[in-house]
C-alpha cells in the first residue's frame, strides 16, 4: 500500500480557513452531541407519551399509539430524513414551505425533529414494555387509593417503569447518537460529515476516520458512565 501517513495533519489549517482540521472535527463533534441531545428530548417525551397511550384502557389511545410506532419504526431512517427535508416543504402550504426552506440551520432542525420522531417510536416500545412488566396490582393499588389515571402513571407506574428500562433506554440513546450521522445526507455538518470532508481535502482518509472513531468511542464510554451513575442514584433500597 502506498499511503503517506501524516498524523500531524490535525494541526494543519483546513482549506475552509476556519482553523485546523482538529477544529473542524471538534465542531462536527459538537453538532453531533447537540443534535443527539435535542432529538433525545423529543424522543423521550414523545416516546413516553406514545408508550403510555399503548397501555391505557382506551381503544382510541391504543390505536393512535400503535399506528405511531409501526409507522415511524418501520420506515428506514434515511427515507424519513429525506421526507422531512425534501418532501415536507413541498407538500405544505406554499408559505410554510418556503419559510422552512429559508430557515437558517435547516439541516439541524430537520435532523432533530426526524431523529426525535424516529427514536420516539423505539422509546415508546421500551416504556410500554416497562409498564407492562409491573405487577397488575400496582395500578390497582393506585386506583383503589383514589388516584386518577394520570396520577397513578405519574407517581406509581412511570417511576418504576423508567427504573426497569434504564439499560435499554441507554442503548436507545446511543443508537440515536449514532443515527445523527445519517443527517449528513441532508447537509448537517456533524462528525462523520466533517471526517469525510477532511478526507476529501487532505486525502488522509485513515487519520480522519480514526479520529472520528475514537471520538465516537469516547462519547459512548461517557454515556455508559453517566447511565450507570444514574442507575446507582435511583436504585431503590432493599430491591434485588
Amino acid at each position: 500500500m502506498n499511503y503517506n501517513w501524516n498524523w500531524g495533519i490535525f494541526f494543519e489549517a483546513s482549506p475552509e480557513g476556519t482553523g485546523t482540521y482538529a477544529d473542524m472535527l471538534l465542531s462536527g463533534l459538537t453538532w453531533t452531541i447537540v443534535t443527539a441531545l435535542c432529538s433525545w428530548v423529543i424522543a423521550f417525551l414523545l416516546g413516553s407519551l406514545v408508550g403510555v397511550m399503548r397501555t391505557l384502557p382506551n381503544r382510541a389511545a391504543n390505536a393512535v399509539g400503535t399506528t405511531y410506532v409501526e409507522l415511524f419504526r418501520n420506515i428506514p431512517l434515511l427515507v424519513q430524513m429525506f421526507l422531512w427535508y425534501f418532501v415536507l416543504p413541498e407538500v405544505l402550504p406554499e408559505q410554510w414551505g418556503s419559510w422552512l426552506k429559508q430557515l437558517p440551520n435547516a439541516p439541524f432542525y430537520t435532523a432533530v425533529v426526524c431523529l426525535g420522531f424516529f427514536t420516539a417510536s423505539r422509546v415508546a416500545e421500551q416504556v410500554r414494555a416497562g409498564i407492562q412488566s409491573l405487577p397488575r396490582g400496582q395500578k390497582m393499588a393506585g386506583t383503589a387509593l383514589g388516584l386518577t389515571v394520570g396520577q397513578t402513571y405519574r407517581h406509581v407506574l412511570l417511576p418504576n417503569a423508567y427504573r426497569i428500562i434504564l439499560p435499554p433506554l441507554t442503548s436507545e440513546f446511543l443508537n440515536n447518537l449514532k443515527n445523527t450521522s445519517v443527517a449528513l445526507t441532508i447537509g448537517l455538518l456533524e462528525l462523520t460529515a466533517r471526517a469525510r470532508a477532511m478526507q476529501e481535502f487532505s486525502f488522509q482518509v485513515f487519520e480522519a476516520f480514526t479520529a472520528a472513531t475514537i471520538l465516537y468511542v469516547i462519547i459512548n464510554v461517557v454515556v455508559i458512565f453517566i447511565s450507570s451513575w444514574i442507575e446507582r442514584r435511583v436504585a431503590i433500597p432493599g430491591s434485588r
Binding site: M140, T143, A144, L145, G146, H155, G238, S239
Partner: protein
C-alpha cells in the same frame, strides 16, 4: 391498651347498608364470572367471603370500588351508585380502603411516602398533616421505627401492616381485604390478623375475602360462600359454622378446616 386504628369520622346515623349489592353479573368475554350476586354489608359489620379458587371472590370485592367494571346490576356504597356515569369514582374509591394479597406497596417510595402519597394527591392534605396521620397509623400497626425504610426492606407481614395503615390513612368508611394473609409465611399471618381483629372490634365496616376461619369465628358477623360466580350461602356466622348450610359449602369447609 392501644389507641384506636379507625379515625374515620363517618356519620353515625344508620342510613341503610354501607354496601348494597343487587344482582351483580359480570362477564369476561363469554365467560360469566359473577351471576346475580346480591348481598349487603351494614355499618360496623364484618363480612367474610370465602369459596374455592376461581369462584369469583376477588372479582366480587373489586366490584365494590369499581376496580372491576360489571355489566349488570348495581352496587351502592354509602348511598353512591358505583355503576353510574355521574359518580366520581376516584372520590368514591378514596373513601373505600383496599388491601391486596400481594400488599402492592409502591416499591420506589419510602414507607412514610407510601402512607402520605394519596393523602396529599387525593385528599389535598398538606404534607405535614399527612405525615402526622401516617405516622400515627404506622405506630398503631407497630412499625413506627420503619418509616424511612423502603417496602423491599420489610418482611411480608410488615409490608401488609403498612398496606393496612396506608388504606386507613385515607379515613375510609369501609375496608375491603382480598386474601390479605395468603401470600404470607405462616409465622406472619398472626400479626396481620391481629391488626384486622383490632380494626373489626373498633367498629370498622369490613368485607374480607379470606380462608382464615379462625378470624371469621372471632369477628365476622356474616359469612358469604361463593362457588362458580354465585353467592351460594350468605349466613350469620353461627349459622354458617353450625348446621344449616349447603352441601357445596360443607365440602369446602371440611377441606379447609382439615389443615
Amino acid at each position: 391498651m392501644r389507641a384506636p386504628l379507625n379515625t374515620s369520622s363517618a356519620p353515625a346515623e344508620p342510613t341503610g347498608p354501607m354496601i348494597a349489592m343487587t344482582n351483580v353479573s359480570k362477564w369476561y368475554g363469554d365467560f360469566k364470572v359473577l351471576t346475580n350476586c346480591t348481598t349487603s354489608v351494614n355499618k360496623g359489620e364484618v363480612v367474610v367471603v370465602c369459596g374455592p379458587s376461581g369462584s369469583g371472590k376477588s372479582t366480587l370485592i373489586k366490584c365494590v370500588n369499581a376496580l372491576e367494571p360489571f355489566q349488570e346490576g348495581q352496587v351502592v356504597v354509602d348511598g353512591t351508585p358505583v355503576r353510574d356515569k355521574r359518580t366520581n369514582l376516584p372520590k368514591l374509591r378514596a373513601r373505600v380502603g383496599m388491601v391486596f394479597q400481594h400488599f402492592e406497596l409502591f416499591p420506589h417510595l419510602s414507607i412514610a411516602e407510601n402512607l402520605t402519597l394519596a393523602q396529599v394527591m387525593v385528599l389535598g392534605r398538606d404534607r405535614g398533616a399527612a405525615l402526622d396521620s401516617g405516622m400515627t397509623l404506622l405506630d398503631r400497626v407497630g412499625l413506627s421505627a420503619h418509616a424511612k425504610k423502603f417496602p423491599g426492606q420489610l418482611s411480608g407481614g410488615q409490608q401488609q401492616r403498612v398496606a393496612i395503615a396506608r388504606a386507613l390513612a385515607m379515613n375510609p368508611i369501609v375496608m375491603l381485604f382480598d386474601e390479605p394473609t395468603s401470600a404470607l409465611d405462616p409465622e406472619m399471618v398472626g400479626e396481620v390478623l391481629d391488626v384486622m381483629v383490632q380494626l373489626a372490634r373498633e367498629g370498622m365496616t369490613m368485607m374480607c375475602v379470606t380462608h382464615e376461619m379462625g378470624f371469621a369465628r372471632k369477628v365476622a358477623n356474616r359469612v358469604i360462600f361463593m362457588d362458580k360466580g354465585e353467592i351460594v350461602e350468605d349466613a350469620t356466622k353461627d349459622d354458617f359454622f353450625g348446621h344449616a348450610r349447603s352441601e357445596r359449602a360443607q365440602n369446602f369447609l371440611s377441606k379447609i378446616l382439615q389443615h
